[in-house]
């Protein structure tokens, strides 16, 4: 084994404990982002070989892709998570699923993704490889192609491990038109399963808390489930993926300045037992905890049972439920109705959820 001048150690194939050495280096170095030989190596051996596809392999300045027609939905999102690997997922799965879901809730069919990596110098090469493989697996699951990418390496200390930005393009079929303006009093509110799993799973890992039985993040691409629901409930009014800030954030956003109100029945909201227990212990409200594989749908009353059935028939919707409805009054308020018939405002998430004193 020879040492490079900067002290970074190329790993000889025979001594590597890595699953499959995509790079001669055990960790990412500045030159991997410089545009030179090491950059090319990393792009070819890791990104192109993992993500596959002709558009990427061309290594042109921009990917040229086919246009299947329809209006275009276009979005971008940057991802960072501590820890990078958490129960039920990792930053790679998160980055792909997040962008796929942003497109899918607009009624679009997610088709193309780009991936940009900001990597801190010294980042473990094996870990990077695992993240990239996870992205590929998630993209396959969602049926999208990663067609362009970028890599930058930040000097040690100037970035916190790994950031991934994904942008996505999807196509909205004719006749699909979703938006809060289409919501009417009497509509029903659905979610595709237990809320708060991701937030609590990540927090438990970060804080090193033992959780008894295992709890996993729900991170998953939802386009398949959404397609299945829209097939039987063509008049879905509105969808939003429930992510940071949880149901509380989505509820409060949607209702802002509207001429109707949103009512959640707290006993109808599916919450995992462990999430409930943990939340109670730390004084954290599961309605405010993050999700990465949940969608909130507003569906006309007469299509709500069909939509619920379609959700439940999908593996990502087995615990789906109708959790509330749209009411005439109070206007512009998201409220929670308790099991006792008493009502409160659905609290707006303020800061990151921190445990309380008592």
């Amino acid at each position: 084994m020879s040492k490079s001048p900067e002290g970074d150690t190329p790993v000889a194939e025979s001594t590597s404990t890595r699953s499959s050495a995509v790079s001669r280096y055990a960790s990412v170095r500045l030159a991997h982002g410089s545009g030179g030989k090491l950059s090319l190596e990393l792009i070819q051996d890791l990104f192109v070989s993992t993500f596959g596809g002709n558009e990427l392999a061309e290594l042109t300045d921009a990917a040229v892709v086919a246009n299947p027609g329809g209006r275009v939905a276009f979005c971008t999102d940057s991802h960072t998570v501590t820890p990078t690997f958490f129960p039920g997922g990792d930053i790679g799965r998160l980055a792909v699923a997040g962008t796929v879901n942003d497109l899918a809730v607009m009624g679009a069919k997610p088709t193309y993704l780009t991936a940009a990596f900001l990597i801190e110098e010294g980042y473990d090469m094996d870990e990077l490889e695992r993240v990239v493989r996870s992205m590929k697996a998630t993209a396959d699951e969602a049926g999208v192609a990663i067609v362009a990418g970028d890599t930058k390496v930040l000097e040690r200390g100037k970035g916190d491990g790994l950031f991934i930005n994904t942008a996505g393009v999807g196509f909205i079929p004719d006749g699909v038109d979703l938006g809060p303006s289409r919501i009417e009093a009497g509509d029903k509110i659905l979610v595709n399963g237990t809320l708060g799993d991701h937030g609590i799973a990540v927090m438990s890992r970060r804080e090193g808390l033992a959780m008894g039985a295992s709890l996993e993040s729900d991170v998953a691409p939802l386009n398949g489930l959404i397609e299945q629901v829209m097939a039987v409930a063509p008049n879905v009014r509105f969808m939003r993926d429930v992510t940071r800030g949880g149901l509380a954030a989505v509820g409060n956003e949607v209702v802002l300045n509207q001429a109707w109100g949103l009512r959640i029945f707290d006993v109808a909201v599916p919450i995992h037992d462990i999430v409930e227990e943990y939340s109670e212990m730390l004084g954290i409200d599961p309605l405010l905890a993050a999700n990465e594989g949940k969608v909130l749908m507003v569906v006309p009353d007469d299509e709500s049972e069909a939509a619920l059935g379609a959700m439940k028939a999908h593996p990502l919707g087995r615990e789906a439920a109708i959790i509330g409805d749209i009411v005439k009054k109070p206007e512009g308020v998201a409220l929670v109705e308790t099991a006792y018939g008493s009502r409160r405002v659905l609290e707006m998430p303020i800061e990151e959820q921190l445990p309380r004193i008592c």
């Binding site: 009054k329 109070p330 409220l335 929670v336 008493s342 405002v345 303020i350 004193i357």
Partner: protein, 394 residues
């Protein structure tokens, strides 16, 4: 013990949220209020009670003639400026790490925040962190001790704020032997002496107290006998909807029967004499002394201070030479903030002129808007200042 206060419980914890049991208690309260036949004011003195009142919208279930006010039950809200300023100053020293419960981080002290456009805004530990201070949120005093062990070349300060339930943990940690580079800011409060003060306030008209279910597991109920002796009804209160309503039922029953005792409807956790063992450990490390309740007064025998043999863990002593003593004390509350009156139950949060305007949970102006235990915050988040949320369906 009163009959209303003790529906037959088994040990399924869900029973304390059970809708039928709640309904039964709701009816009981309505009957009692009718029997009393006049408006009644009750008070709880625990931030968690206010939080639960909001989360389950319990005021919707209580008869209109019965008002339940929030009293001095938020340790974060009554924590004096002096300690917050001290924590901020210490966090800005190069060799110091300040550890604190998350709740305390955003509470403004009295050091002005330079360059702030919102008005007379004071610095919090979060502002200190933004200015380069090493401030870390912890879950317990033991976490702080661990950080001290992991950073032997640094001084680690634990901002010890809270009532009995937190101070017993601090005592346990110090007794088991804490690292030398750990010290604490002594901002632990003992509530009973503050409740002595309340009946002396002008216009005091509270007829019953819900005693704080967490703290009395340790102090016991005996320490509130002075209230019953003054003719004020008392009942211990747990935190599930059934617990809260049961303690209100107990108070109303006492008022109907014209008596004032210390009832214990939360007897599944609270013993009349509290937890003797925890108390003796606590008093090995701490002794009671005077402490200032922010914006209210200095109250004798209401603060836990380190005993002489533990004073090497006192941050105030350890850093005496390095603190700017003059900058420690300051204006009590930011101008226009009526937290003291809110804390004493003299006004409702929405009677404060800046509630929901200059002062919101995302940009808190006064301490009562910061902590989850704070009355202003609970009112804002759960919409308790709004008119009753009557629903009209399509």
């Amino acid at each position: 013990m009163s009959e209303a206060a003790t529906p037959t419980f088994d040990f399924d914890p869900h029973i304390y949220k059970d809708a039928d049991v709640v309904k039964g208690l709701q009816e009981k309260l309505a009957t009692l209020a009718d029997e009393i036949g006049r408006p009644v004011k009750l008070m709880h003195i625990c931030g968690t009670h206010e939080h639960e009142m909001g989360r389950f919208a319990l005021r919707d279930l209580i008869p209109e003639s019965v008002e339940v006010l929030a009293g001095p039950g938020c340790p974060v809200c009554v924590c004096d400026n002096e300690y917050i300023n001290m924590a901020i100053q210490l966090s800005l020293l190069d060799d110091v790490i300040v550890t604190s419960f998350g709740d305390m981080l955003a509470v403004p002290g009295s050091i002005p925040l330079e360059g702030e456009r919102r008005g007379d805004v004071r610095m919090s530990l979060l502002d200190a962190r933004a200015q380069g201070g090493d401030v870390r949120a912890v879950y317990s005093a033991f976490d702080a001790a661990q950080i001290a062990r992991d950073n032997p070349d640094k001084e680690v300060v634990f901002f010890s704020v809270g009532f009995e339930t937190t101070v017993v943990a601090v005592a346990a940690m110090l007794k088991r032997g804490a690292p030398d580079n750990l010290s604490i800011i002594e901002a632990n409060y003992y509530t009973p002496p503050a409740t002595h003060l309340l009946p002396e306030l002008d216009g005091f008209d509270i007829e019953g107290f819900i005693l704080p279910g967490h703290a009395v597991t340790i102090t016991g109920l005996r320490v509130y006998e002075h209230l019953a002796e003054q003719g004020i009804a008392c009942a211990s209160g747990g935190f599930e909807p059934v617990d809260v309503l049961a303690s209100i039922a107990s108070l109303l029953e006492q008022l109907r029967d014209d008596k004032a005792i210390i009832d214990n409807p939360y007897s599944r956790l609270v013993k009349y004499d509290g937890n003797e063992k925890a108390r003796s450990e606590l008093h090995e490390v701490f002794e009671l002394g005077p402490i200032r309740w922010r914006g209210i007064a200095e109250i004798p025998e209401s603060g836990y201070k380190l005993r002489p043999e533990y004073q090497k863990y006192s941050a105030a002593r350890k850093f005496a030479g390095r603190l700017d003593q003059r900058a420690l004390a300051g204006a009590e509350h930011p101008k226009g903030c009526r937290c003291a009156e809110v804390t004493l139950g003299q006004i409702r949060p929405d009677e404060c002129g800046v509630f929901g305007k200059l002062c919101t949970p995302d940009a808190p102006y006064g301490p009562c808007m910061v902590s989850h235990e704070g009355t202003c915050r609970a009112w804002y988040l759960y919409g308790m200042h709004k008119e009753k949320l009557n629903v009209e369906v399509a």
